[in-house]
Structure formats: structure tokens, C-alpha cells
Amino acid sequence: MIEIRFHGRGGQGAVVASKVLADAAFRENNDVQAFPYFGVERRGAPVTAFTKIDDRHIRNKAMIYEPDYVIILEASLISAVNVTEGLKDNGLVLVNTKDDPDEMAKRLGVKRAACIDATQVAIDNKLGSKFQPIVNTAIVGAFSSVSGVVKKESVVNAILALPRYAERNAQAARDAYDQVRISGGA
């Protein structure tokens, strides 16, 4: 089973990101689960969401404590929440930031990190507002690229099934897929 944990703030779309990723994997004939853990359901409050992907039926209903991947939708959460808690030894952290992935890996104390300026990608694709860009679809596109867990087309198809601004969101995912950088220069 592949387990992915999302960290975001209320209103940024972490929950939808977990669902889009699950939908993409579902389209590749996997069993999936996507669910949020809400503290307080308020805009701006830290939100955790989870995606589980397996080629077998998933019965475990517990939250994710030892993720293979951590996806951070807002870099300021790094100092507010223990984002790398329980990350598997060879796990990968994907962060929405302009920063360099090697420096990010060092800062987080992890072996592998990837960085994507999803905020800029979202603004370029007119998703959300300048001060409240919706970065979730971009970051799932970037995740597809650095993890290989799901194909780009599956992510795009999952996004095209969203009720609003589907094409702009799909383009954000494609852009982020191309722009994401991973530590170690890979």
C-alpha cells in the first residue's frame, strides 16, 4: 500500500487534492481511500488529508502515521506542524515553495525532497485569487511527476471530472508536472 499525507490550511484544497490523487489512482484500477482529518473546519486552520493506494482491497480505516509521501501545500506549515512525523526512511516530501529541493531536504532532515512553486502555477492559471491561490491541482500534477505513483493522464482526467474550472486546473497540473524539481538533481 502507498500512503500519502497532505498538509494544508483550510480553504487551500488539501481535501480535494487527496481526492483527485485517489481518483487518478482509481482510474488505474487501484483500490483507494481519501479522507480528511479536520481539527476545526475553518479557513486558514491546519488541515490534514490522506490518500491510500493499493492494488488489493483496502480495509484499514485508520489514519496514516507512517507515510511514504508527504505533500505540503503551504511552506509556512513546516514551522507550525511536525510535517515529517513518521515519514518512511526512503520517503519523499513534496513542498509548495520556490526554494531549492536540496536545501529543503536538509531543512526537513529527510533524504528526498521535491519543490514546486505551485502558488505561481495557480496564479498563472487564474486559480483562486492572488492572495488565496488554489494550489491543489498543481501539486497533484507535480506529485505525479516526482513519484510515478500515478500517470499524468490519470491526474488530468481526474481533474477534468471536477465541477468547476476543470481545464484551467488540468493545465496547472500539466505545468507543475513539468516544473517540479527534486533533490539530488534527479
Partner: protein, 400 residues
């Protein structure tokens, strides 16, 4: 059949749509969930031909559902936690009036202290109302159960309301792949509701009128008979559904690897789904363990508990709530069924996961270990009722 990624709430709405619920009265505000929002979407998209009645409380929602059912309409509603508590009086009325309203409840803790997370007190507190109770472990089961519950509840020999339970967040807000059955297949399985007695201005009858003491008791005994009859019908309907879809939920109880098990854990909801994974792992290690998942709470699976008692050595009963005073509700029920039974396995109560505390595989393994230990050495300091994982300052945090 189409497979879709659905949350428990959306699976519930789809169930109501496929069951062709005709009247859905619901209170739309907290603690209501997105179930009624999805139903409103389906109605506005023209996919449901349903009268949606927005009411001012859950008490009113259930009252309107009972009235609709009295007229011969298939009635459905949804609620959660305090909303179900507020419905309590009308659940009793619905049962006594023999109106087979189906209610889906998102199991959430009651306050104070305030909580919105998974807990079973809301539903267990409705034990004595006369409502049938179904419990689910995944979203497919929710959708299927909405359809099956209508069939059981509306049977002329049953005519009792039904409550379907799903854990907050672990199902209600979790997206999972769900097979959405064909409408045609559901229509063949679930014919339109057509009660023998209904409110009809052209054929007036009195509903809910007074009866004197020589008759009230007979009406109550009649309800008890219907509850008892529901056991066989639930098993039959489960088999019929399996024939159509390949999916069975075990009839009255979902038993997983119990055949030659020595120790089993019995409980309700999503934590029992997680527990099945642990049982597979422990079986690979040679441990004789199994899971009995509560599928139906009312009527209680008496035969199934006694069947298990004939072969297992220990039953650990997991309660995601407590009946303040003595024991968890499931523990008390299990012990009650064993007292007049020849074989009495060892039992212990684990109060666990209360108020949405996550139940993870490691906990399930610890419970099996504990159960086997106390069976050999006695209950020890904790006694027969163990609040598992309390922050007591003694237990290491990693064991919580």
C-alpha cells in the same frame, strides 16, 4: 453497474436515490452532514423524484417522515449525533406507528465536551425505541444497506423503522470506490412501498388513537414479534442481494476467520474493518484469531453469538461508547446472551476509540494479546472492563 469514488455521505444519497425515496424531510444545519446536500443536488439535477421537506429540527424531520410513511410514501431521512438524540421521541413513535422510515445516522460523539468525531453513543442510546439497527464498515455497505433496509423494514410482517449507522469521517467523509447498482436491478429487488393501512381521505381511519390497558400490551408484543421475525428476513434479504451483486454482509453478523478461532474480537463499525487486516497478519503467525463484526444491533444476533460461544475460548468486546453505570452496550448484550447458554467463553470489555480516537492495527493486536493473557491469568488490576489507551501517566505513549 458503475464504479464511482464516493464518500459515505454520497453513497447514502445514492442509496436513497436508487431506493426511490419519495419523501425526505431533513434538518439541514449542524450536526447534519453533506448527505442532505447531495440529496438536494440529485433532486435539482432531476435524478431523484423526491419531495424534500426542509424542517426546523430533527424532531420535526422524523415527525414529517412518519406522517409521509403513514400516507404510504417511502420516507427517508439522515442525521447525526445530537440530531439523532433529538429524534428519540419520534423514533419510538415511528416504531409504534409501524412506519418503516429509513434513517441514516453518521455516528458522532455527543457533547459536552463538544466533539464531532466517531463514537457510537448516539445510536446505542436508541436501543429500546423499536427501530431496526444496521451497522456498516465501508461505503459500499452503506449504499447496499439503504436499499436492503427499506426491503426489510417495509415487509408486511415487519413494518418497523430502520437506522443505518456509519462512522463519522472514517466513512462519512472518506472517498472509496463503490459499485453503483443499476436502477432496474434495484427496482426489481425493491418493489414500491404499499402498506396495508394508509392515511387516505377517501377511506378514513384513525391513526395513533388511544388503546386501553387490555390492548396496549398486545401491540407491544406484536412489535417484539416483528423484531424477532426480522432476523430471518435480514438473512434472506442478504442472500438475495448476494445473488444479484455478489456482495453479502453476513446476514445478522459478519464473521471473519472465526471457524477455528480461539479468541475473537466483537465490535461495530470501521475499527472492525481495520481489525480484519490484523487478523490476517496474526493468522500468518499461527495465532487462532477472528473478528465478529456487529452487522445488526436490533434485533440482536443472539444465535450468532451463541454459535460462536460453542467454539471460541474468549470474546473480547470492543465498545466505542459506554453505558454509564456498568459496561459497554455490546459487552452487556453479549454477556446476557451467554448466561442461559451451555457454553460460556471468557469475555472482556474494551472501551476504545471513544470520541473519534483512532483505532489502529497495533491496538487490535494489543487487544488480542491482552485477551489471551487475562483468559489465562485473570482480569487483574483493570478488571473486566478496560478503557483502552487512557492517558493515565502509567502506560507508555506508544501503547496508547
Amino acid at each position: 453497474m458503475v464504479k464511482e469514488l464516493l464518500t459515505g455521505n454520497k453513497a447514502t444519497a445514492y442509496g436513497a436515490m436508487l431506493a426511490r425515496a419519495q419523501v425526505i424531510p431533513a434538518y439541514p444545519i449542524t450536526p447534519q452532514t453533506t448527505i442532505v446536500e447531495r440529496i438536494a443536488d440529485l433532486i435539482s439535477e432531476g435524478r431523484m423524484e423526491t419531495k424534500f421537506v426542509k424542517v426546523e429540527s430533527e424532531h420535526s424531520a422524523m415527525a414529517a417522515a412518519v406522517a409521509a410513511s403513514n400516507t404510504g410514501a417511502r420516507a427517508f431521512t439522515a442525521t447525526s449525533s445530537h440530531g439523532l438524540a433529538l429524534m428519540h421521541e419520534v423514533l419510538i413513535w415511528a416504531a409504534g406507528a409501524r412506519t418503516p422510515v429509513v434513517v441514516v445516522n453518521v455516528n458522532r460523539a455527543l457533547g459536552p465536551p463538544w466533539s464531532v468525531w466517531a463514537d457510537h453513543q448516539d445510536a446505542m442510546a436508541q436501543r429500546d425505541t423499536g427501530i431496526l439497527q444496521f451497522w456498516c464498515e465501508n461505503n459500499q455497505e452503506i449504499l447496499d444497506t439503504v436499499i436492503m433496509a427499506h426491503k426489510v423494514a417495509e415487509d408486511p410482517d415487519i413494518m418497523l423503522p430502520a437506522l443505518i449507522n456509519q462512522d463519522a469521517f472514517f466513512l462519512s467523509h472518506t472517498s472509496e470506490p463503490v459499485d453503483v447498482p443499476d436502477q432496474k436491478m434495484v427496482d426489481d429487488f425493491l418493489p414500491p412501498f404499499n402498506p396495508k393501512e394508509k392515511l387516505d381521505v377517501d377511506d378514513p381511519k384513525g391513526f395513533g388513537s388511544l388503546v386501553m390497558p387490555p390492548q396496549y400490551m398486545e401491540f407491544r408484543a406484536n412489535m417484539a414479534r416483528s423484531m424477532d421475525r426480522a432476523r430471518d428476513l435480514i438473512r434472506k434479504v442478504d442472500k438475495e442481494w448476494e445473488g444479484l451483486t455478489g456482495r453479502s454482509y453476513g446476514g445478522m453478523m459478519d464473521m471473519y476467520r472465526c471457524e477455528d478461532a480461539e479468541s475473537i474480537l466483537f465490535g461495530a463499525g470501521t475499527m472492525m474493518s481495520t481489525a480484519k487486516d490484523v487478523v490476517d497478519d496474526m493468522r500468518n503467525e499461527g495465532r487462532k484469531v477472528g473478528i465478529a463484526r456487529l452487522r445488526i444491533f436490533r434485533p440482536f444476533p443472539v444465535d450468532e453469538i451463541r454459535y460462536l460461544a460453542d467454539s471460541v475460548k474468549a470474546i473480547g468486546v470492543m465498545d466505542r461508547t459506554y453505558t454509564f453505570g456498568q459496561g459497554g452496550p455490546l459487552y452487556n448484550e453479549v454477556n446476557a446472551q451467554l448466561y442461559n447458554h451451555t457454553n460460556q467463553p471468557f469475555t472482556k470489555n474494551y472501551v476504545i476509540g471513544v470520541g473519534g480516537r483512532d483505532v489502529v492495527p497495533r491496538h487490535i493486536r494489543s487487544l488480542f494479546d491482552d485477551l489471551e493473557k487475562v483468559r489465562e491469568n485473570g482480569y487483574g488490576e483493570e478488571g473486566e472492563i478496560h478503557w483502552w489507551g487512557l492517558l493515565d501517566g502509567k502506560t507508555p505513549r506508544e501503547e496508547m
